[in-house]
């Protein structure tokens, strides 16, 4: 069947982008992995790789088109035996399909900069983004508009709870009641009030009211934002971080992945899935790194439950792959795909994102070479994965080129000492560089 190629999301927050260039033409033969187009966002230009193989049947979105929505069909790939005449390509394009058929170059599990705090109760779902952030038009019911006007409220400062974030009567009532300071998702009643001093638990943030500030927009903090702020501040305040970096050559891993995926019927195992698997196995070998600090004792966990940071609207969340040490790469891939997609839809149950023992944060897809993540308390360590890129390496005394991925482990020194961290990274590196040993 003909396959529709969809506009990929290059970042978790991307909603549209510019289709800059087509690198293939109609009629060209395409193999999985070929770079077929370049996409531009305000931040970067990225390559689009084909996931399927076939012949390019039709280009739907011409090069140079601005504001192409994510997941909009941009081209149609014909499979072997199909020709353009026999396939209703508009129908194919229109059908879209649930899974994007093209992906950005660096793979899934997009993860944001810092570590991934597990939001604590009572915030199972992220609050909807404030209406103000979605552009100039604020969606609000006529009644809500009038009530806000009468109460002197700025709709842009209010979070809507109605369909698609529409501000409804209830939100205005909450905002008015919020003068008492208890309406969490509903935002402050007025800009002035929104600038009140932050709660002490968020750390001693400098007063935002410095004279001489230029004009600004205020985006009220969602519950998730507050949880992120609180937990990461706690982490940096209480967990003495130190960092260990290792470079892993991943050419063998990429080959194994390619071979695996060629044998899978439509499913894909990503580099990140293999990183999860390798981490889990390394932690099994070095259980002292799968640990957490309490004032009374260090807890060494008997199962490796890996929290994987996934960026979602307004923040991030860390769905957990439980018992990862006992799972195969495909199991992990399937579970991750399901968790990540439900995470982005805000449909995770609390037990699905709470209580991991170790975290992974991957910013490789953004071209980040290496970074230091903030530990997700009460966990003892987090592994930050950078981009796999070709770098000069010295092999047998000669200069060579290898695909290298830098991985940085942030460790809570109360729990894990340098030698233990190094031992874990060594085990991890061995598995990543010799992926067949993951089968052992």
């Amino acid at each position: 069947m003909a396959i529709s190629v969809l506009m990929p999301a290059l970042s978790p927050t991307m909603t549209e982008g510019k289709l800059a260039t087509w690198l293939v033409a109609v009629g060209d033969k395409i193999s999985a992995g070929d770079v077929i187009a370049e996409i531009e966002t305000d931040k970067a230009t990225m390559e689009v790789e084909a996931v399927d193989e076939g012949v390019l049947g039709k280009i739907i979105v011409a090069a140079g088109t601005d504001n192409v929505a994510v997941n909009a069909p941009i081209a149609v790939i014909l499979e072997e035996g199909e020709d353009a005449g026999s396939v209703d390509m508009d129908a194919v394009a229109g059908s879209g399909g649930p899974a994007p058929k093209a992906e950005a170059k660096a793979e899934p599990a997009p993860a944001p900069a810092a570590a991934a705090p597990t939001p604590t109760a009572p915030a199972p779902k992220p609050a909807p983004a404030p209406a103000a952030s979605s552009g100039d038009r604020v969606f609000a019911s006529p009644l809500a508009r009038r009530m806000a006007e009468q109460a002197g409220l700025d709709l842009g400062q209010i979070t809507g709870s109605g369909p698609n974030g529409r501000i409804v009567k209830h939100d205005i009532e909450d905002a008015i009641a919020g003068g008492t300071g208890k309406a969490a998702p509903a935002a402050a009643p007025a800009p002035a009030a929104a600038a009140q001093a932050p709660a002490p638990s968020l750390g001693a943030a400098p007063s935002p009211d410095v004279p001489g500030l230029p004009a600004f927009d205020e985006i009220p903090n969602t519950t998730m934002r507050k949880v992120i702020a609180k937990r990461l501040t706690e982490s940096k305040q209480f967990a003495p971080h130190f960092y260990l970096t290792v470079d892993c050559e991943i050419d063998a891993l990429l080959n194994v992945r390619k071979e695996l995926n060629a044998k899978l019927d439509g499913e894909k195992v990503s580099v990140n899935d293999l990183v999860i698997k390798a981490s889990a196995q390394a932690l099994k070998k070095v259980p002292a790194a799968n640990a957490s600090w309490t004032d009374e004792a260090i807890r060494i966990f008997k199962s490796v439950d890996i929290s994987v940071a996934v960026a979602i609207e307004g923040g991030l969340i860390t769905p957990v792959i439980r018992d990862a040490q006992n799972k195969g790469a495909l199991d992990i891939a399937r579970e991750m795909k399901d968790l990540a997609s439900r995470a982005r839809d805000g449909k995770l149950m609390p037990e699905e994102y709470q209580g991991g023992t170790f975290s992974i944060s991957n910013l490789g897809m953004f071209g980040i070479k290496d970074f230091c993540a903030v530990i997700n308390p009460p966990q003892g360590a987090i592994l930050a994965i950078g981009a796999g890129e070709q770098r000069p390496v010295v092999k047998d005394g000669a200069l060579a080129v290898a695909t290298v991925m830098s991985c940085t482990l942030s460790v809570d020194h109360r729990v894990v000492d340098g030698a233990v961290g190094a031992e874990f990274l060594a085990a991890f590196k061995k598995l990543i560089e010799d992926p067949l040993t993951m089968l052992l």
């Binding site: 779902k125 909807p128 019911s141 006529p142 009644l143 809500a144 009038r146 009530m147 009468q150 709870s161 109605g162 369909p163 698609n164 409804v168 009567k169 839809d345 805000g346 449909k347 995770l348 149950m349």
Partner: protein, 465 residues
């Protein structure tokens, strides 16, 4: 052996239960529905639908009686009660089969059996003695309600009917007493009145259709009397002496007791929830006055057990049950944008002649809630379409919050108002103010223009009256 493990198991196949089951199946959940009697529940088999079929016969008969005023002749008109009832049963049967198809199409497993809770996540079903154990992550109680029997006024199916008996009436009572002037009572009163019975309605409250706006109740009262009904408000039936062929009712009003003789009595004094034989004993499901107590997401006190529709309390309306079911399921599925049911947005319809429909607060309730009001009214006599239809009686009333322009309530009486009320329901759900309603273009000539005019009238701008 068929499947016995489900994500969702719904007990009861009425408008609450089957809609929940279909919604659950749409969301990819493995769903079962257990129904002890007939798919579609009371609504479809013994309530909403068959009564509408009867009332349609009565309405057409009424029109025929007035054929002359339309320039038509319909001499020698009459009816055959058996055939009227037969048509009503046929309509119910057709839709009952339709529900079966819908469930099948959505791959809901249907068990025609009685069901009761049997421990955490377990339900025991009894299909004519054949017992089976089913398990489900979430169990939805949707067993509905039935007619309430007051002591001394119990329905016997012979001289004293409840709605089920009345729906399959085998005789045209010459003198009929209807106890209770809620929707059920007044619809049967209307039906038998149109077909020629001498109908007396006894209502304990001080007005007919007591849940409606007082002004609408007043207009309804007058209209019913004009059609020949006797209405006794603030009155109670103290007792029924059942003879061989007739019943002597003792009716007390204003401290005075009278005895009146009737051929048949219809008891429509409310309903009670079907909470028995469900295995609720020993669970944390709380029952209060025959209804299961639920929270805003239809959860009972027992984890994994939910209740929706009539069994979960007022308002006892099919569309409330369906909507509650959808909310319950979507909440279980973790969908975004699920909101608790707002009772003030549930429209209510009564299909008496004239029809009555309403949504939101009555004028009195709005005042009591402390609102300053703007009230609009528009009579049918001012509407071209109403005159053309020969339906000049009725009114559309709107109640606004003077401060915010929120449409607090809308109340209508007259021809076809049950088909109009959803316009205001949409307006309430979208939270429109009077401005948006004024800016809406209503088609001419329609009865709906009265809805526009009523809003304009609330702000002193009615054009056609």
């Amino acid at each position: 052996m068929a499947d016995t493990q489900f994500d969702i198991l719904v007990i009861g196949g009425g408008p609450g239960g089957y809609v929940s089951a279909i919604r659950a199946a749409q969301l990819g959940m493995k769903t079962a529905l257990v129904e002890r009697e007939h798919l579609g529940g009371i609504c479809l088999n013994w309530g909403c639908i068959p009564t509408k079929a009867l009332l349609r016969s009565a309405e057409i008969f009424d029109h025929m009686k007035h054929a002359e005023s339309f320039g038509l002749s319909a001499g020698n008109i009459g009816f055959d009660l058996d055939k009227v009832v037969q048509r009503s049963r046929g309509v119910a049967k057709q839709l009952n089969q339709g529900v079966g198809h819908l469930l099948k199409k959505n791959k809901v497993t249907v068990f025609m059996a009685a069901a009761k809770l049997a421990g955490s996540g377990k339900v025991e079903i009894d299909e004519k003695g054949k017992k089976q154990s089913l398990s489900a992550k979430h169990i939805i109680l949707a067993t509905g309600a039935r007619a309430r029997d007051l002591p001394g006024l119990e329905a016997d199916g012979k001289l004293v009917w409840n709605y089920k008996h009345a729906l399959v009436a085998d005789t045209m009572p010459k003198r009929l007493l209807v106890i209770g002037s809620g929707a059920i009572g007044i619809e049967f009163a209307s039906f038998f009145n149109s077909l020629g019975s001498d109908v007396t309605v006894v209502e304990v409250m001080d007005r007919v259709l007591p849940v409606e706006d007082a002004e609408i109740s007043g207009l309804a009262h007058k209209a019913f009397e004009k059609k020949g009904m006797k209405i006794m408000t603030g009155a109670t039936v103290k007792g029924l002496k059942r003879g061989a062929k007739e019943v002597v009712a003792t009716i007390e009003k204003g401290g005075k007791s009278t005895e009146q003789t009737f051929d048949r009595v219809i008891s429509a004094v409310g309903i009670v929830g079907n909470v028995e034989d469900l295995g609720l004993e020993g669970t944390k499901v709380k029952v209060d006055r025959t209804h299961v107590v639920i929270d805003e997401w239809c959860r009972t006190g027992e984890p994994g057990v939910y209740a929706i529709g009539d069994i979960a309390g007022a308002p006892w309306l099919a569309h409330k049950a369906s909507h509650e079911g959808v909310i319950c399921i979507e909440k279980i599925a973790g969908l975004k944008d699920v909101h608790p049911l707002d009772v003030k947005r549930i429209p209510g319809c009564t299909y008496c002649q004239p029809q009555v429909a309403s949504v939101g607060l009555t004028e009195a309730a709005a005042k009591e809630a402390g609102y300053e009001l703007k009230v609009g009214r528009f009579p049918f006599i001012g509407n071209g379409k109403a005159i053309a239809l020969g339906e000049p009686e009725g009114m559309v009333k709107t109640v606004f919050d003077a401060k915010t322009g929120e449409l607090l309530g809308a109340h209508m009486i007259g021809a076809e108002v049950t088909e109009l009320i959803q316009g205001y329901s949409v307006a309430k759900t979208l939270e429109t103010t009077e401005v948006d309603l004024m800016h809406t273009v209503f088609p001419h000539p329609t009865l709906s223009e009265m809805m526009h005019e009523s809003v304009l009238d609330a702000y002193g701008r009615a054009v056609h009256f």
